[in-house]
């Protein structure tokens, strides 16, 4: 596969596939070799990886407040 010939959208899809561990070992090797010589693709993958990490870590310790829990308990009691 010639990655240079791919459309931008298909290239993003491939890089996201790499990020999500969805590519076959053969395709990963092709992509990895391509990235070594293609700064835009290497940058794009780095940027996407950082984006996913930011999203994940910004939400990592989120849970409802004690007030929200109480409000839910009270609402459930009213439905009984």
């Amino acid at each position: 596969m010639k990655l240079e010939r791919l459309t931008c959208r298909r290239r993003v899809a491939l890089l996201c596939g790499e990020l999500d561990g969805e590519l076959s070992p053969a395709l990963r090797r092709v992509l990895s070799a391509h990235r070594r010589g293609c700064l835009p693709c290497a940058d794009l993958l780095r940027g996407l990886r950082r984006t996913v990490e930011s999203l994940r870590s910004s939400m990592s310790a989120t849970g409802p407040s004690a007030k929200a829990r109480k409000r839910l308990s009270a609402a459930l009691r009213r439905t009984l």
Partner: protein, 193 residues
């Protein structure tokens, strides 16, 4: 496949047992609240409303829940529908950062110690800034994109489960995921320039 214990709790909940349902809430509430918080991007009262309505709806519809289904995916589906309905009704709302809620600042200025594993004030400030940045960027995306990004990248669901929870095809999930990630990447880059 749900564990035997979970199937028992589902059965009891379906017969109206609030204690059993309370135990199911404890298992799933963090996940549902994270989804609501992420999709309601910066609107704290909306996130709490979606969290509450999700479990109230689930309790009422528990009899219709098929025991061979995945409870988590079903709850995500209810929460996602509630988010859709909420944002269909509302157009644009003023951005109110979630982190401005009083209970997020409970420990500030208390002079407490920071044992291993707990964030230092600097780490806490960085995390809050990151959360704000993410909220601001998510708020600019359509709700279906926010849902896909949250279910895939925050909750770690597979593309298949995300598609099931949202009633979309896997191809549609991937398309929204890729576009959403690109949009967020550009937003983060713009903010740091």
């Amino acid at each position: 496949m749900a564990s035997a214990d979970e199937r028992r709790l589902i059965k009891l909940s379906a017969s109206g047992d609030p204690e059993a349902f309370g135990r199911l809430i404890t298992r799933y509430e963090d996940r549902i609240f994270r989804l609501a918080k992420s999709v309601c991007a910066g609107l704290p009262s909306d996130a709490e409303d979606v969290y509450q309505e999700t479990f109230l709806t689930a309790f009422k519809k528990m009899r219709g829940f098929r025991a061979d289904s995945d409870l988590g995916t079903w709850l995500y589906r209810i929460a996602s529908n509630l988010c859709f309905m909420r944002y269909r009704k509302k157009s644009r709302e003023p951005f109110v950062p979630l982190l401005d809620r009083p209970h997020d600042h409970d420990h500030e200025g208390s002079g407490r110690q920071y044992p291993d594993g707990e964030p230092t004030p600097e780490e806490g400030a960085r995390k809050k800034e990151l959360a704000l940045q993410v909220s601001r960027a998510l708020a600019k995306l359509p709700v279906d994109y926010r849902l896909v990004l949250t279910l895939r990248d925050v909750e770690g669901l597979s593309a298949g489960k995300t598609a099931k929870a949202l009633g979309l095809s896997v191809a549609a999930v991937k398309s929204r995921l890729h576009r959403g990630r690109l949009f967020l990447r550009d937003e983060f880059a713009r903010e740091t320039r």
